[in-house]
Symmetry: C2
Amino acid sequence: MTVLETTNDLYAEMRAIGAQARHAAALMARATPAQKTAALQAAAAAIRARGAAILEENRIDLADARQHALSAALLDRLALDDKRLEAMAGGLEEVAALPDPVGKELARWRRPNGLDIARVTVPLGVIGIIYESRPNVTADAGGLSLRTGNAAILRGGSESFHSSRAIVAALRSGIRQANLPEDAVQLVPTRDRAAVGMMLTLTEYIDVIVPRGGRSLIERVQRESRMPVIAHLEGVCHVYVDRAADLAKARHIVVNAKMRRTGVCGAAETLLVDRAAAATMLPPILADLHQAGCEIRGDEEVRALDPAAVPASEADWSTEYLDAILSVGVVDGVEGAIGHINRYGSHHTDAIVTEDKAAAERFLAEIDSAIVLHNASTQFGDGGEFGMGAEIGISTGRLPPRGPVGAEQLVSYKYIVRGDGQVRP
Amino acid sequence: MTVLETTNDLYAEMRAIGAQARHAAALMARATPAQKTAALQAAAAAIRARGAAILEENRIDLADARQHALSAALLDRLALDDKRLEAMAGGLEEVAALPDPVGKELARWRRPNGLDIARVTVPLGVIGIIYESRPNVTADAGGLSLRTGNAAILRGGSESFHSSRAIVAALRSGIRQANLPEDAVQLVPTRDRAAVGMMLTLTEYIDVIVPRGGRSLIERVQRESRMPVIAHLEGVCHVYVDRAADLAKARHIVVNAKMRRTGVCGAAETLLVDRAAAATMLPPILADLHQAGCEIRGDEEVRALDPAAVPASEADWSTEYLDAILSVGVVDGVEGAIGHINRYGSHHTDAIVTEDKAAAERFLAEIDSAIVLHNASTQFGDGGEFGMGAEIGISTGRLPPRGPVGAEQLVSYKYIVRGDGQVRP
C-alpha cells in the first residue's frame, strides 16, 4: 500500500468517526439527566470490573515506553495501579453526582408583541480532545463529556494507547447499559500522528477542540485548528507582595503558592515585591523558600539582598518552571506589579498580598487574568478548589469559557421563542 | 520600493495598530460606564456636526465605485445621505442608552475555607472587525465596541474607505472628548487586501475576529484566523408547517418569513410541509406566495400540487437566496422536518407552525439552531427584535456567543477570589 493510500484510508476512517460522533451527539442532546447519570455510574462499575484487563493493557504500554527509554517521570504518569483505577472510577461517580448542566434556563423574557424568549443551555456537540500521556485523562474527559451531553472523540498520547483503549471500552460498556449511543465516546484507533492534523480540519463533524498537554501541542492546535479551541496554554502565575502586606500571611502564601506542588499549573513561577517593602520582607520570605529547597532567580535588587540568588534572565520572567525554581523581582508598588504581570504572565492565576483594600481592588480589577486572588495562594487556581467538581483544564483564552472548564462550561445555549402566530410588521 | 519592503512596512504598521489597540483596551477596561456613555453621545454629536464632511468623503467613494462599475445594489448600500447619517448618530445614542455590560457579577459563592469567589464580566479586549461595503457598519461596530469597553480595529470594505475614515474620525473625536483613548477605535489605514491576512495572525494584539459579509469572506476568515472568530455564516432558515398547524397562522407566517424582507438573514429560504397536510395546506400557502411575487422551487410532490413550481435541485436545499425565491419540500411529520433542517440548514433560525404542543416542543428541542420558534415568523431572528438593542450579527457557531451578538455578548469574565491568608493544604 502506498503512503497516499494509507493517508486516504486514515482520512476516511477519521471522517467515519466524525459522522458517528455527530449522530451520537444528536442522541445525547436528547438524553435525560437520569440516563446520563446511569451511564456514568455504569462506566465507573465497568472500570472496576475490568480492572485486571486495563492493568494488563497498561503493562503493554509500560513495556513499550521502557523500550523507548521514556523518563522515570513519564513512566510514572503512564503507570496505572489499583489505587489509580479506583481514583478513575471514583472520579466518574463524582461527575455522575454533578448537577446536569443541560436544559437550564439562563434567561427568559417576554417582548411587547407577546413573544416569549428563553435562553436555554444545550450541549456543545462534538468535542475533540487531544491530550498527552496520562491515561486517566481518558476517563476524566470521557466522563465530563457524558455529563454534558456531548460526544467526545479522544486522541490520547501514543504511549498510553493500549491503556486508553481499555478504558474507553469500559466507558462504552457503561454508555450501552444506559441505552445511550456508545459512539458518544470514541478513541482514535491509531497511533498515527497524522490523525491529529486530520481532526483539526474536520469542521463538519467536530465543534470544538480541547488540547491538554505541553506548550508545543497547544500551539500546534491553536495554529492548525479550523474549529474553536478551548486551550490551557500555561500557568506563569505570580504572587505580588505589596508594601501593606501582612508579613506572616505573605510568607505563608508565597511558600504555599510555589512549593505545595510545583508541577501544577496554579503554582507560582514569579514573586514580585514592592520596592517599599523589599528590604524588610524579602529576606524572611527568601529564607523560607531556600529552606523549602527552592532555587531563586533574582533581579539585581533581589540579588543584593540574597547572595544565594542566581541572576534572572529576560526569559525567566515568562517561564513556567513547574519545578522548585522561582523568579523574583522588585517592582514599584501595585502599578509596577500590574505592568509586569500583564506583560510577562500567561493570564492564568495571579495573587496580591496586602492589607490595603484599595491596592487589592486595583490589582483585582486591572490584572488581565482568568483568576485573580487577594490574600490567598495561587494554588487555589483549580476547578476542584472552586467547587466545580471535575475540570478539563483552565482556559487561558480571553473568550468564554475562561478559567476552570468544568461541566457548566462545556455547554452552549440556544434561544427558544414561543409565539401565537406573530409576524414581523 | 520592492514588494517585499512594502509588505514589511504594512506588517509593521499593522503591528503598531495592534499595540495601540492593546494599550487602549487596558485603559478602556477601567473606564466608568458614565465615561463610555459620554463618549458615545459625543460621537453621535460629532457624526451630526461633521455630516457635510462625511458626505463629501462618501461622494469620493461613490465616484470610485461608479468608475469600477459597481452594481446599483452595491451603490445603494454604499451611499450616505442626511437620513442615513441621522440613523447612524441615533444608533450611537441608542447604544449609549444600553446598560453597561462590564463589571456585572454573574455568580458569587463562598467556599468552606472562607474564600469568596465571584465571576465578573470584563471586556473581551481587542476586537478585529472585518466587513464589507456598508459604511454604517463602521459606526455600529465602533459604538458597540465602545459600550463594551473593548478596543476595535476596523477593516471596512475598500469601496467605503473614505466614508469609513471620516466616520472613524468622528468617533475618535467623541472618545477624546470623554477623556478616553482615541485608539479604542482604529481603522486600518489602507485598502491593501494584504492587511486582512495580517490581522488574522496578530494573536498578540487581537483577541477575537468578527467578520461581517458574504460567505467567501466568512469562510476565508474561519480558515485563516489564528484567533477565535465570532462568525455569522449565513441564514438558511426554515418554516415547517405541521399537520396540526392552524392554516391561517401558517399562511400569515410563511408569507411574512419569506417576503417581508427577502434580503435579511432571518428570511426563510425553505418551506417544509408535513405530508399529512400537504394536499390541503400547500395550495393556499403557495397561492399566497405566488401572489406576493415569490418563485417556488419544489420537490416532486410540491410540483404535483403547483404547476408553476420549478424543480428544486439538491443545491437549493442549502441555498440562502436572499431573494424572492423559496425552496419547498414535503417531509414526514416533525421527525422528517428535524432531519431535513439539521442536515441542510445553517443553524441560524427555524420555525414550526403547529397547534400540537408535543410536536412543537420536540421541534424546539431537537433543531440544532441558534434560534428556534414556535408559531412565529423567522424574521424575528434579530437582536433588535429580541430587545437587545444594537447587534453586530447573529452567530451561527455552536460555542457562545451564539445567536444575536449584542453588547451583553461582547464581554468575557474573570474570577475574583478574596481571601484572608488562605493557603492550599
